[in-house]
Every structure is written in C-alpha cells, then in structure tokens.
C-alpha cells in the first residue's frame, strides 16, 4: 500500500481549500486585465490538478520496491 498521509483534525480542509483556490482562480481569470493576473488565475485553477499529479507520482515512488 502506498499512502501520502498527513494527519489532520479537520478532514475536509485540504479538499475544500483546494476547491476554493480553484474557484478563485477561475474568477480571477474572468476579471483579469493583465498577464500577471491571468497567469496567477490559471495557476490557481490548475493547482488541485498539479497537487493531484504530485500525490500520484509521490505515491508511485514510495510504492516502488
């Protein structure tokens, strides 16, 4: 079994924070007028996916014999 575990007292906090960051990114992209805000908006939107990818890669590495 491979697990990327971090103990937390509020179980849903990381998921809800990621969801809120993604939503903030989508809104920032919509209201942005400059390239920097657009880049930040895109990064925030993609953050859950990037973290998900990182989790999978980390889990795979740990699972290797």
């Amino acid at each position: 079994m491979s697990r990327h575990a971090t103990r937390t007292h509020r179980p849903l906090t990381p998921i809800l924070v990621m969801a809120l960051l993604c939503i903030s990114g989508l809104v920032l992209l919509l209201v942005q007028d400059d390239a920097a805000s657009a880049g930040l908006g895109l990064l925030l939107t993609a953050l859950p996916l990037l973290i998900g990818l990182w989790c999978v890669l980390r889990a795979n590495r740990k699972a290797r014999p």
Binding site: A5, T6, L12, I15, A19, I23, T45, P48, A63
Partner: protein, 387 residues
C-alpha cells in the same frame, strides 16, 4: 454512533448514489458534447462557418445600410432581424441575421455575412445546421427548446447534489489523509483502486465541477430569465411605444448607421456596439431598435448594456440597466464553457471534463459491481476474483 452510520451520512450516501445514477447517462452526453463545444471557435473557424476577410479592423468601412440593402434585394422573402460587428472574433465582417417575413423570433433565423470594406455579401449559414450549432442545441436544450433547458438545469442540479453529498460521504474516510489515497498492491482488488480513483479525482476536480454545474444550472434558466425581462422591463417600454406610431420594420426611417452611431454615443470608454436588433422583434419594440453593447476586457467583455434607439428619429430613447439575474446568466456563460482564458484554460477544461466523465462512469461501475457482489454472495457464490 460513528460518522459512517449516522443518519446524516446515510441520507447523503443515498443522495449521492441516486442523484449520480439518474444523471449518469445525460451527464455523459453533456461531457462529450461539452468537450467539443469548448473548442467551438476553433472548429467554426476550421470549418469556415464565418467567412474571413483581409480587411484590418480600423480601416474605414462602407455604410452598414449598404449590406442590409443588398441582403434585402437578394432575399425578398426575408426580413432583417439584427446586424452586428465583432472586430475581435470576426474582423472586417458584418453579420446580418434574417428570418422569414413577419417573424419576430430567431427560431428560423439565417446568418448572412458581408464584407465591411465593400458591402458585398460573402456567405451565409444556418446557425442550427453547423456542427457546433447542432451540438449546442443538444447540450443546452436536448432538442426540446426551452423545456430542454429546464431539463438541463435539473441534470445540473442532480450533479450539484451528487458533488456536495459526495463530499459529505467522503469526509469520514479522508480523516487520516490530506488529499487522497491510491491503495494498490498484491491482494487488493480492482474495485478498491477504482473507489480510490473515484474519491481522489473527485477531490481534485471538486472546485471546477462546482463552478461548471452551478453555472450550468443558471444557464438552464436563461430563456426563462430573458422571458421575464421581455415581460417586465421591455414590456413597459413596449406599452410606452404602443402610444407612438410604429415604423416600417424592414426600412426604418433612421437607418442602421444612424442607430449604430446613436448607440455608440452612449457607450462608456472601452465599450462598443456589438449588435443592433431591428424594430418589431422579440427583443425590441415596433418603434425602437435595441442596441447591445459589450466591453473590451475582463468582466466587461462578458457583460451586455442595452441602448434603446428611436427608429423614427435616430435618437437615444433609453439606456436601461440590465437586471442582476440577467447579469448572472451572462457571467455564467464563460464560467461554464471555459472559453475566456485562452488555449491553456481550454485544455485544462477538457482535462477536467474527461476526469469528471471518468468518475461518473466509474461511480456507476462501482455501484453495479457492489450490487453484483451482493447478488453472488446471496446465491452462495464467492465474489472473489469477480472484480
């Protein structure tokens, strides 16, 4: 009582299971058509739906009324419904919407194109008969018109319930892990891996999926919202216009260019006139043009302002503020289709759509698999090795 056996948990589990299962097939169709519609601009461009010209945007153009007269001469059985210019998406092209004589709605509309530089007609299309038009009608209306839109809103509501109840159901199991877990290895069935993938991917796409389903739910009420606006604010204007002499809707005394200029004079900095609806349509009075203005960047590019132009005098009659419910629907469109942040956002949108498509399908498979195992157990057959 543990979290996993509480009434609240079981109610959410029931909601998650049945809301998802009911929405599975329509949601699969929505995901597939939605994936194509993310790239509707690119597809329309590749298929040549809107002809292109070599004219640069700031070059002086022929009077708009010239192309209108050419369309009227070429299609004597049709009336002009609206004209438009879009220097960003279709530079150098004048868009002219026509419908059969006497029509007030856009159901049987044809889109005709003229070269702004010469006033010559350069093409035509029926928006409903293009690939993206066909898919949009399926995606947004299920080929059922406004009723189909409400069905779409219902599907979006089911998916929204499924997402929120899914978070509640996942909570007791995520207590010891931060973001998700993928359990694999010897002795662990495919079902466990699929369950972990379902939860893990669900957590990853949660924010995006909440936005897309909430905006999809709002868009399901777009025809209803426009109908309310037509009955209330436009209705009041129509009652006022009824006391005035109507104009010839085909050839109003103040032509398209005068109306365009009048509407442009009401535009705040950075705003421009995008469309001009002729008198006597579902969105104008028998006496007035309705001009639709849009901004050039940020939220303004997605919002619409209205200017009512007297078609007899060419003067601005009114610039009503759009109601909040219509503004919410205008803002929902980009947040639903993901066509506002360039190619990178479109690719991200596609990836999220496919991931959501995957968890929808594998969620249904998990339900079927569990049910199948229970049936086997009830029949005294070991389910091991069946998944």
């Amino acid at each position: 009582m543990t979290a996993a056996t509480s009434r609240w948990f079981r109610a959410n589990l029931w909601l998650h299971r049945w809301a998802s299962l009911i929405a599975t097939i329509p949601f699969l169709i929505l995901c597939l058509t939605g994936t194509v519609l993310i790239f509707h601009e690119e597809i329309d461009h590749a298929l040549g739906v809107v002809p292109t010209t070599t004219q640069v945007t700031d070059q002086p153009h022929r009077p708009l009324a010239e192309a209108v007269a050419r369309v009227q001469a070429a299609y004597p059985d049709e009336r002009i419904m609206s004209i438009g210019v879009d220097p960003v998406e279709h530079p150098g092209v004048q868009l002219i919407v026509t419908a059969p004589k006497g029509a007030t709605g856009f159901d049987d509309a044809h889109l005709r194109f003229a070269d702004l530089a010469t006033g010559e007609l350069i093409g035509a299309t029926n928006p409903a008969k293009t690939l993206t038009g066909f898919l949009l009608e399926l995606h947004a209306q299920w080929f059922l018109g406004p009723v189909g839109e409400l069905i779409g809103a219902l599907i979006a509501l089911l998916v929204l319930i499924s997402l929120l109840s899914g978070v509640v159901v996942y909570a007791p199991y995520v207590r010891r892990i931060a973001f998700g877990v993928l359990r694999r290895g010897r002795g662990r069935g495919a079902r466990l891996l699929q369950l972990d993938l379902h939860n893990f991917i669900g957590a990853i796409v949660l924010g995006w999926a909440l936005v897309v389903t909430a905006t999809g739910f709002l868009l399901g009420f777009s025809t209803v919202a426009i109908g309310i606006w037509q009955m209330t604010e436009l209705g009041e204007l129509r009652a006022y216009a009824a006391r005035m002499a109507p104009v010839d809707a085909d050839n109003p005394p103040a032509n398209a260019d005068r109306a365009f200029a009048a509407a442009t004079s009401t535009a705040p900095p950075g705003w421009r006139v995008g469309s001009l609806l002729y008198p006597g349509t579902d969105f104008s009075t028998p006496r007035h043009y309705t001009a639709l203005l849009s901004g050039s960047s940020g939220v303004d590019a997605r919002m619409v302002r209205v200017a009512i132009i007297d078609a007899a005098t060419g003067e601005v009659a009114l610039t009503p503020e759009m109601p909040a419910y219509l503004k919410a629907i205008f803002l929902s469109q980009p947040l639903h289709f993901g066509d506002y942040g360039g190619l990178l956002l479109k690719l991200l949108w596609t990836l999220c759509t496919w991931l959501t498509l995957f968890i929808t399908a594998n969620g249904a498979w998990l339900w079927w698999s569990r049910r199948h195992r229970r049936t086997l157990r009830a029949d005294g057959i070991s389910p091991e090795g069946t998944t």
